[in-house]
């Protein structure tokens, strides 16, 4: 004991203690999450931080009665309301200048799980991860959700998000019932097929507050993963075979943006049904975040490092060929490693949809639109993921008028005026190329596109606007997206 005490007084021992503890702390420093969202100072931003705006107040949601009162009051006094969840949309969809923001995150309860009917009723502020945690022990899984589970139900439905499932159609199609608080402050129970529900799903928060929804579920199937490297010109044929093969449940692909194989190489990943169901495998968390972030940062450097990153991505995809994964875990990919916090720069998402059979021609067109090596460019494309979106006949502002392939694009650029203008020009050119092939672009992201491009991509915009006028004549529910694209 005496020896122990004397050792603790030795400078070398204390130095060792500092080194060990400091190393442990350094290893456990979390990957930075960028600071965004609603602040006490009355400024709001969303995930890009590109549209900071002064808001009047943030009201945390409590229950339906409280929301009704706020909405009725706003309607009466001509005030504006926006609805915010976890604010991963990137085009000011969750706030409005000098408006009130309803922060829905507190309404996140799982209200009912019906094992027999395979449904779950949840409050709109719950995240997909919250639902997965509650249904996983029952061997149940969501029919459609994004590849990550970090978004709120209300937010995802408002933008009619899609994922990697190629069998269950749009997310909107999995909503059985819904409780909505209308702009007049009425509480309405809506069922599938009701006109108003059709407006709310993919309605970008402009038709009322979704209080809760009943979602259809399916079994937590076990899938085996299969990877295939191919040329972009081979993809259409490969994809058609994947869709025809009923064993394939999920499918997505990546296109190379590395200089050495720019838009020529791809790899595809299929999740094949094994016939097994699962109710015991735990949900996976974030893993190997540092390693993934390091690899992505290499890719962000461009040039040869981006070639190296592409090769390592292919190598990684080969490594899990034949592995099995549960449906729930396939729908909760890691996201922390994507954090990007370099001052003066921003990483944004865009998504372009093109008809499946135009994919090859579209990619060839992009080769003429984008620089193959963006190492020394301000506008850099880091990643293109390809996902299938089945024809949507459900929502008004539909991005999939027919069966489409969605190209989810991760882009980085600077934020000074000149750099913003350049990014806008590049994305407008890209959008133009997309429209040429009968495609569309996704609306939850920063609006680089012109109003004219919006109208050509979404010819139903007038019907959408008319319906908005009928349902919400006093414009109780507004946001920056509405202001940019739809307001007179």
């Amino acid at each position: 004991m005496k020896t122990m005490i004397s050792i603790t007084k030795k400078p070398w021992f204390l130095a060792l203690l500092v080194i060990i503890f400091a190393s442990m702390s350094a290893w456990n420093i979390p990957i930075e999450k960028r600071k965004y969202g609603l602040s006490q100072s009355g400024l709001a931003t969303d995930y890009t931080g590109l549209l900071p705006g002064k808001i009047e107040q943030v009201i945390p949601s409590e229950n339906i009665e409280q929301l009704q009162k706020i909405i009725k009051d706003s309607n009466k006094h001509g005030k504006h309301i926006s609805i915010a969840g976890l604010q991963h949309s990137q085009g000011g969809h969750t706030y409005y200048k000098n408006g009130t923001v309803l922060d829905m995150k507190n309404m996140n309860k799982i209200l009912e799980i019906n094992e027999q009917e395979k449904t779950v009723r949840v409050e709109a502020g719950a995240s997909w991860g919250d639902i997965q945690e509650s249904i996983n022990p029952y061997g149940l899984a969501l029919k459609v959700t994004q590849s990550q589970s970090i978004f709120t139900v209300g937010g995802s439905l408002s933008v009619n998000a899609h994922g990697r499932d190629i069998r269950n159609g749009s997310m909107a199609g999995t909503v059985k019932e819904m409780t909505l608080i209308t702009p007049a402050g009425e509480v309405k129970k809506l069922k599938r097929g009701d006109q108003l529900m059709q407006e709310v799903l993919g309605g970008y928060g402009l038709f009322g507050v979704i209080a809760d929804v009943t979602l259809e579920l399916t079994d937590n199937d076990v899938y085996s993963m299969h990877t295939k490297e191919l040329q972009t010109k081979e993809y259409e044929e490969y994809f058609h075979k994947a869709v025809e093969n009923e064993k394939v449940g999920f499918h997505y692909a990546r296109v190379s943006v590395a200089p050495g194989s720019f838009l020529n190489e791809m790899y595809a990943i299929d999740y094949n049904v094994t016939g097994e169901k699962d109710n015991s495998t735990p949900l996976k968390g974030e893993s190997a975040v540092r390693l993934s972030k390091f690899a992505l940062d290499l890719g962000r450097s461009g040039g040869r490092l981006e070639d190296f990153f592409w090769e390592s991505q292919k190598q990684f995809s080969r490594s899990f060929n034949g592995d099995t994964v549960t449906r729930n875990n396939a729908m909760r990919s890691e996201s922390d490693f994507m954090e990007f916090t370099v001052p003066g720069r921003v990483e944004v998402l865009q998504e372009f949809f093109v008809p499946v059979d135009s994919f090859e021609e579209y990619i060839n067109e992009l080769k003429n639109t984008l620089p193959s090596n963006d190492k020394h460019e301000d506008f850099k494309v880091h990643n293109i993921t390809v996902r299938f979106t089945e024809r949507d006949s459900f929502t008004h502002l539909r991005y999939a008028k027919k069966d489409m392939l969605g190209l989810v694009v991760l882009i980085q650029h600077g934020v000074n005026d000149k750099q913003m203008q350049h990014a806008e020009n590049m994305i407008q050119k890209w959008t133009e190329a997309t429209l040429k092939f009968g495609g569309t672009y996704y609306l939850p992201y920063y609006p680089y596109q012109t109003k004219d491009q919006f109208r050509r991509a979404y010819p139903e915009w007038e019907a959408f606007k008319e319906q908005k006028k009928r349902v919400d004549p006093n414009e109780v529910f507004v946001n920056l997206f509405y202001n940019h694209y739809l307001k007179d």
Partner: protein, 162 residues
């Protein structure tokens, strides 16, 4: 040098460190992202202080104290905290290094200071001065703690060469 470093500068260091502490804490809180990391940054400071204290304590009485370098070192840490222009994701790592540095220097300085005859007088003056300065600072509105961190850092750095 010896005279000043024993009579006046220790008081500047002890009073200044307590006065600057709220600003430094605000900076550290912004950098540390979670309470766990915030607490760990203090733990590493504490371990380093113990290390610094013992490092001075085991020195032979007649050997050089390097106290001027200690003051300048502390000053550099505060200047770095105020001037930091790293990407946001690098800041926690920088803060960790700074806590090690500051802790060691603080422990070393404390071990030296308590052996000086002026220590007891300083203790009383320290408390009175801190109280008065804090009341004064409560009326100063600032947007960022950086300016105070840099000013105090420069003061300490100069003290090392005074």
């Amino acid at each position: 040098m010896e005279k000043n470093s024993q009579r006046l500068i220790p008081l500047i260091v002890t009073v200044g460190q307590v006065v600057i502490f709220p600003y430094y804490i605000i900076w550290l809180k912004e950098v540390s992202m979670s309470f766990t990391l915030f607490a760990w940054l203090f733990a590493v400071f504490s371990f380093s202080a113990a290390w610094g204290f013992r490092t001075y304590s085991v020195k032979k009485p007649d050997s050089s104290a390097y106290i001027s370098a200690i003051y300048s070192g502390m000053g550099l840490v505060y200047i770095a905290a105020g001037w930091m222009v790293f990407p946001v994701e690098m800041l926690p790592y920088a803060a960790l290094l700074m806590q090690i540095g500051l802790g060691f220097l603080q422990g070393y300085f404390r071990a030296w200071h308590i052996q000086k005859p002026s220590y007891r007088v300083h203790a009383v003056h320290h408390y009175l001065l801190v109280g008065i300065i804090m009341i004064g600072l409560s009326f100063v509105k600032i947007f960022s703690p950086s300016i105070f961190l840099i000013l105090f850092g420069v003061l300490l750095f100069i003290s090392g060469w005074w």
